[in-house]
Symmetry: C2
Subunit: 239 residues, 2 copies
Amino acid sequence: MQFTSEQHLDDGVFEREFTLGEIPGTLWTPGSAPAPLILIGHNGGLHKREPRLVARARHCATHGYAVAAIDHPGHGDRPRSATDEQARADLRRAMATGEPVDEIFESFVGPLVEKAVPEWRTTLDALLSLPETAGPVGYSGMTAIGIRLAVVEPRIKAAGFFAGGYVPRAQREEARQVTIPLLFLLQWDDEGNPRQRALDLFDSFGSKEKTLHANMGGHAGTPWFEVEDGDRFFSRHLK
Amino acid sequence: MQFTSEQHLDDGVFEREFTLGEIPGTLWTPGSAPAPLILIGHNGGLHKREPRLVARARHCATHGYAVAAIDHPGHGDRPRSATDEQARADLRRAMATGEPVDEIFESFVGPLVEKAVPEWRTTLDALLSLPETAGPVGYSGMTAIGIRLAVVEPRIKAAGFFAGGYVPRAQREEARQVTIPLLFLLQWDDEGNPRQRALDLFDSFGSKEKTLHANMGGHAGTPWFEVEDGDRFFSRHLK
């Protein structure tokens, strides 16, 4: 793990960019060490420097967590393959013309999960070797990657899933193998994420402690107080 | 309003029993005054001294709210009419034999709402005339009474509804007239409250800001952290 830049922010958070092989990432740490670690998984075309993601990460860091985000293959700073570009073009065309998008998402998100989860595990190894971080570990973000991580990675003890975006069939099946405490966020009128499918997914998780928070509005409308509720969820399980 | 007993509790809360005409109630106030007021509406056979209700009320009072509960007609310390007794007996018999209970609930809860809401408004007048209380006012508890109160009582600025128990047809219709911020609690496997009906009710509220919190387990299994989430909800809207 190579740190490529560092910055002391005015809220007391220490922000560092890193690379780990091909994986570019950012680590935010509070002044005090060692802190429990939260991995933020983002999706779609998003970038690890996307402003809302950064605001969320810094907020968590000021509340005593080390927080890491990486750019997944084909995202952010990373090169996009011809297949990625084709899938994105197919998706834009289908959404513009109102064609079904499930199979396009499946062909795009399914392989993303397969590639991103081993990268997260490699990143986790490296992050937990730093003196600034300590277990237990939480995950917060994209549902599809989070499900697979929660199933295969025993160091992850609690997860907050954002029920936006497409969850591949494989992860919908794996959901019943997830047994860690969950906070599942749903936007009630999320145009890209049919409500009933999200409710069915929530129902299928194997966790004994799982809480659904649903708020009004579309995909990008999650209210800020859910970030604060997320802090309290993680403080119950990671501290 | 006549105070009939008073007690300084070890958490700093001042607890007083009162009567207002036929209405018996309890008022919990924090040391500091004046405090925003939260009305706790309970249901079923419950009593204003039921331990979980009292724990919730005292918790809110230690967080800076004045909190009041009353026994509704036919509840707690109040006399039960022959009609009340008959409805309760019908309900027990129907639940034991697996008969449909909707019409029995309707005949029981419908009139309860009609009687309880004017009593709450009278109680609210009296409570707000005390130096220890100040607007704005929140409501927390039984959904059916809360819907009608939120529709007719402009002093109520935010409400937490517990989606347990039967909501009469009239209140399911009135739900779209509710426009104040809502926190709606749902127990995912509540045997007495079909999940889809609760989700439909949540959908129908007219409020722009409404949040659903769903947790695992049956009717009485709401986790304690929801009381703390309720505090934060009210602090956003009443303070």
